[in-house]
Amino acid sequence: MDALLEVRDVTKSFGAVAAVQGVSFALHAGEAHALVGENGAGKSTIVKMLAGVHRPDTGTLAVDGAEVDFAGPADAKAAGIAVIYQEPTLFPDLSVAENIAMGNQPLTRLRQIDRRAMNANAERLFTRLGVRIDPARPARGLSIADQQLVEIAKALSSEARVLVMDEPTAALSGVEVDRLFAVTRALRDEGAAIMFISHRFEEITALCQRVTIMRDGRHVCTEPVADLTVDDMIRRMVGRDLSALYPKQEATIGETVLEVEGLSREGVFRDVSFTVRAGEIVALAGLVGAGRSEVMQAVFGVDRYDSGSVRFLGRKLKPGSPRAAMAAGMGLVPEDRRQQGLVMELSIERNVTLPRSRALAKLGLLFGGVERREAASWTQQLQTRLGRLSDPVGTLSGGNQQKVVLAKWLATGPRLLIVDEPTRGIDVGTKAEVHRLLSTLAARGLAVVMVSSELPEVLGMADRIVVLREGHVAAQLTRAEATEESVMYAAMGQPS
């Protein structure tokens, strides 16, 4: 069997960070091929190289055995590669049908766009996927699941020979996933090559023939799925025993620090109540789009909420004011490090001291390297690997960036730390360090709320698990009650 698409020894680095190093594998016609690895293992970089977004620094791609050099996504598209990205990439102002047809709209004889045919085509694709979305409505305002479905329809419409899907199912319900798989299998059987990226092993075993495993930007192995157990895969992904990753320390649970009661925001979450006590790590679990981050952002005040209350250390917290939350002793390490956690263009020291600059100022002025001393002390405590404190924080690797965010909030001396996906996109070693740090802090009496999509992390770290489903609390589980199954069951509302 000839390889439809080959990745030959590619390397790609961003600044000092090597995202992919010497990776090779092949996709065959009529094959569904899984690409697995932890967050930050380099999967998305591979996807972007296949899509023509990134050019490999070294190494090449080959289609039908011939080397290709994609100057941009148009070339990849022309070569028959369609990509569904992790984050939807729709045009909010255009109609759903236009989004799907962009680039190969059906034309009338005058080379004008045939809107009727375009809408009908979209309608047909949605029927095939078994969903109903009005093709004429604008893409703006679609729910995440619907956006993902439009993305899938878009990829299907291009009749590509290679279909790359980067976590397409993260926001979908069981029924929708089944439909997607049925369509995908049909495509595969027609001779297309599918590259499938997912964190759900049951999906991989259900759909794929072969699996390529990556770790820290390197290729680990490519083997038939049938030859590996789930445990094998995890071991190869992680490269070490799971228990070492989650160094949970015993902590004495103290008095209640945070009480969230009946928190609601229209269209996002409703009637969410839970408490967090000192020394406790509470995990917020659930599917993407279940409203976990939104709840915690409302608690911290970066988002508003419609009703309910947040009590912190016995006092009602002013809604909609991160400043009040900070002053009361709360910190939030947000989900999106690049957009929310750090100011990439600013230096490391400015980032570390950003929430603290008022406290550091004397007579309202910041003089004589006071910020640098503060930043130096915290980055050292967290063993951050960096060049100079005056370098832009964007030059650091993901793990070290996350340490800077942690340093920034630990420097404020919080009583409650909210960490949202604290180990997303960072290497395994740093991951363990972050986990150890959180455990140590909890043991010292800090209350921690951890939002995480990684079940092992949730199970390994949390004292208590609050599971959200579609914006409300589906279950609260103690450490003893929690298993993968029980959490997933609560998160999906059905046996998984």
Binding site: A51, G52, V53, G72, P73, A74, D75, A76, K77, A78, V83, Y85, T89, L90, F91, P92, D93, L94, S95, E98, M102, G103, Q105, L107, R111, Q112, I113, V131, R132, I133, D134, A136, R137, P138, R140, G141, L142, S143, A145, D146, A171, L172, S173, V175, E176, E266, G267, V268, F269, R270, G289, E470, G471, H472
Partner: protein, 340 residues
């Protein structure tokens, strides 16, 4: 997310097309009210000559607004149009005064070419120099104007130096419709159709709606962007020829400060400054509305000094209205999709 499947069956109350229509409808309504009010007080406002004058005055602005709308839809801006108009008007006027035998079409082509080159320079700097459009076109606003000034050196081309046929072009008409107006209608109509019904037009909307997604979708962003700036420049160049023919007197300051009026027409016409939405014919209507306001104020004998203030208030009103509508629609869409 199963509930999403259930609620999706409802047809949306406002489709994308319907939304856009309401926006232009607002301008037409405002125009109608203004015209009727003025005409009731001054019936001569609706005389043939008066309508002719308004349309002639709109023509130049509308041609430039069409080009500007395309650029703004791609989430860029072209502040250099006033200077390009000046450069083109002076080039063409000088050319026609030294070569009075050249046909009108030569003047039009030269104007278009001068503008196209200027637009291309803008486009190349924006795309390949990765310099924001605001900075590039602010820079070329100075540069093109400076070139015109240095070249003209205080000279002026007067009506009596220009060939008859060139000047007559501004007033001559086909079937009672002046050439100028005809050109404006063809330009606005043509660009509207291009933007609405052709792939390249939809790609330009897509680029403005989400630049990253446009790159990922394999849209030829560079080509399209150069095209948009080239079009804006070329139309400003064309406007320069029309300007020279209409006003007969051209000096280096022709079209000074026009850029703000053009941007105002586009914004009032419902094109969002952050790209992706609005229509070219809406921008044309915006140009008409601004001109009618000017004429109506003169006819109603309202202190002409109010004109600029009213234009400013209108811009603010237009963007506030767009914002409110957007918020309301976002809310209604979310409600429809939500199940919580």
């Amino acid at each position: 997310m199963t509930a999403a499947l259930v609620t999706k069956s409802k047809r949306p109350a406002l489709s994308a097309g319907g939304l856009m229509k309401t926006r232009e409808l607002g301008i037409i309504l405002a125009l109608a009210i203004l015209v009727i009010f003025t005409a009731v007080n001054h019936p001569r406002f609706l005389s043939g000559q008066s309508i002719r004058d308004i349309l002639l005055n709109t023509a130049i602005l509308a041609v430039m607004a069409a080009g500007q709308a395309v650029v703004v839809i791609t989430r860029n801006i072209d502040l250099s149009v006033g200077s390009v108009l000046g450069l083109s008007a002076f080039t063409v006027a000088t050319m026609m005064s030294t070569n009075p035998d050249l046909p009108m079409i030569a003047a039009l082509l030269v104007g278009l070419a001068v503008g196209a080159v200027a637009g291309l320079i803008n486009g190349v700097l924006v795309r390949y120099g990765r310099v924001p459009a605001l900075v590039v076109t602010l820079g070329t606003l100075y540069m093109f104007r400076g070139i015109t000034y240095s070249w003209a050196g205080g000279q002026q081309v007067n009506a009596d130096e220009l060939p008859r046929h060139f000047l007559r072009f501004a007033n001559a008409s086909v079937l009672g419709v002046p050439w100028l107006v005809l050109i404006a209608v063809v330009v606005v109509g043509g660009v509207s159709v291009l933007m609405r019904n052709y792939r390249v037009g939809r790609e330009l909307y897509a680029m403005g709606s989400s630049p990253q997604a446009a790159e990922l979708a394999g849209i030829r962003v560079a080509r399209n962007l150069l095209g948009a700036f080239l079009l804006s420049g070329a139309l400003a160049g064309l406007a320069g020829v029309l300007f020279a023919a209409r006003f007969g007197t051209v000096d280096a300051s022709a079209g000074n400060g026009y850029e703000l009026t053009v941007v105002a027409a586009v914004v009032v016409g419902g094109v969002a400054v952050f790209g992706g939405s609005g229509t070219v014919w809406g921008a044309g209507l915006g140009a008409l509305l601004l001109t009618v306001i000017g004429s109506a104020l003169a006819v109603l004998d309202i202190n002409q000094f109010w004109q600029q203030a009213i234009v400013g208030a209108l811009i603010l009103f237009a963007i506030c209205a767009d914002r409110l509508v957007a918020v309301r629609i976002a809310r209604s869409l979310r409600k429809r999709d939500s199940h919580v």
